[in-house]
């Protein structure tokens, strides 16, 4: 073996090389959304922070950024909505299938900096997935935080993620879980309306609360305004943004948002940093 070949085999794979992970469990959340649990094939576990994402590779098809929806303590999990060729292949991956994983990438929800604060989680649609590790962390360290409210909106009752988990949380005395849907027909006895509307009556102290918001950008804008109307300061409101993340390393520039790159500087931003950028059309 030549020296050059030896050097090549000893060099650890770079951050652009996906590590093989095996699907150990798959669970259908809704008609088009699945949660996959992954274990490394021989390699080391990755330890994401709440709010980070990975690049998931369906070999031979392509790679997409997917928020980590669990795995801070337990198995690494991702909740994936089937919206195109790659996510379709990921959603179809059976138990035992091998996928590529790069990452984790990006920054995290400020759950460490929010010790002692009330926590308001505002999620819309699949935006609950990246918030799940955050509220799970808060609940695991419940005595470190004040009041906790999880406000979640989806399109219909059939589109609600983590239904059993939310029902379990609703049974706890130390967290407020409020769910609403945009549209419902017979049989739904819950709320119908938009998720920002829940903010007005949620139990938290605007002066000492930290809000974590994720969902479609329009929904986040409405939610941020409703939080400001409750008296929260913009620097206590955090939003998770999404663009076309490709490399995850801040090299390719596909996820540029004004002067920032979401994969490198985000995806979590303070609203006072983001408000001006969100108002610019076309960014």
């Amino acid at each position: 073996m030549s020296t050059a070949t030896q050097a090549a085999t000893e060099t650890p794979p770079g951050p652009m090389v996906p590590e093989p992970f095996r699907v150990t469990r798959r669970h259908r959340e809704t008609r088009d959304t699945w949660t996959l649990e992954l274990e490394p094939v021989g390699g080391e576990r990755i330890l994401p922070q709440p709010g980070q994402f990975t690049m998931l590779y369906a070999f031979g098809i392509g790679e997409v950024p997917i928020s980590v929806s669990g795995g801070i303590d337990g198995p690494l999990s991702h909740t994936i909505r089937d919206v195109g060729a790659v996510t379709h292949a990921l959603c179809a991956a059976q138990t035992g299938a091998v996928l590529g994983v790069r990452g984790p990438f990006g920054n995290a929800w400020p759950v460490g900096a929010a010790l002692g604060c009330d926590i308001v989680v505002v999620a819309g649609g699949i935006g609950l997935a990246p918030l799940r590790p955050a509220y799970q962390h808060v609940l695991r360290n419940r005595s470190d935080y004040g009041d906790v409210a999880v406000l979640y909106g989806s399109r219909t009752p059939g589109d609600l993620l983590y239904r059993n988990e939310l029902q379990r949380l609703r049974g706890r005395f130390d967290i407020q879980v409020d769910v609403t849907v945009d549209a419902a027909e017979g049989g739904w006895r819950g709320k119908v309306g938009v998720v920002p509307k829940l903010i007005a009556s949620a139990r938290f102290d605007p002066g000492s609360a930290v809000a974590l918001v994720c969902g479609p950008e329009v929904m986040m804008s409405f939610a941020a305004r409703a939080l400001l109307d409750r008296g929260m300061a913009p620097d206590r409101i955090f939003l998770s943004m999404e663009r076309d993340m490709r490399c995850g390393l801040g090299h390719c520039g596909h996820c540029q948002l004004g002067p920032t790159l979401i994969c490198r500087d985000g995806p979590v931003y303070r609203y006072d940093e983001l408000e001006r950028l969100m108002a610019v059309r076309g960014l």
Partner: protein, 155 residues
């Protein structure tokens, strides 16, 4: 038992009204309760009242042939139910159904309209407050029209 004007002091809709104005408004109100599934009002009936919910939740529904009742929106304690009493032809456009035990204060719309006609300042004040609620609900409805969760993009 609390008097109506004592109840009204805790209702955001009437926040900031003077004691005299509250007393005028309270004169048109009475306390009511509805059992789960009972209708507060029905589509097509005369709209001569509105409700301020004090406890429980209410679904605004419409009946769609072949689909049955479809919920347009749900309203909770503190919310106002009904504004068709404000404008001719004073007719309800939806059903309002109690989703649980509901306690509410119901106001006689004709009584309140008459008092507003006699006291334009009170009339303007109340109309402004109802306009604010209407605009807020319109904004939320517009957000739902966007179907923000339906558009998922593509990878």
């Amino acid at each position: 038992m609390e008097t109506i004007d004592a109840v009204l002091r805790d209702v955001a809709l009437f926040d900031g009204l003077s004691a005299d104005e509250l007393e005028l408004v309270a004169g048109c109100g009475s306390n009511v309760r509805f059992k789960e599934d009972e209708l507060l009002f029905r589509d097509g009936e005369d709209a001569d009242t509105f409700f301020v919910l004090r406890h429980g939740s209410v679904a605004l529904e419409t009946f769609v042939p072949a689909r049955g009742p479809v919920t347009i929106e749900t309203l909770e304690a503190g919310d106002v139910v009904g504004w068709s009493w404000l404008f001719p032809p004073y007719r309800w456009h939806f059903d309002a159904r109690a989703l649980s035990l509901v306690r509410a204060t119901v106001f006689d719309g004709a009584c309140l309209r008459e008092k507003c006609a006699r006291d334009p300042k009170l009339g303007y004040d109340l109309m402004s407050r109802f306009a604010q609620i209407t605009v807020e609900r319109l904004q939320w409805t517009r957000m739902r029209l966007l179907d923000v969760y339906g558009y998922a993009g593509s990878d």
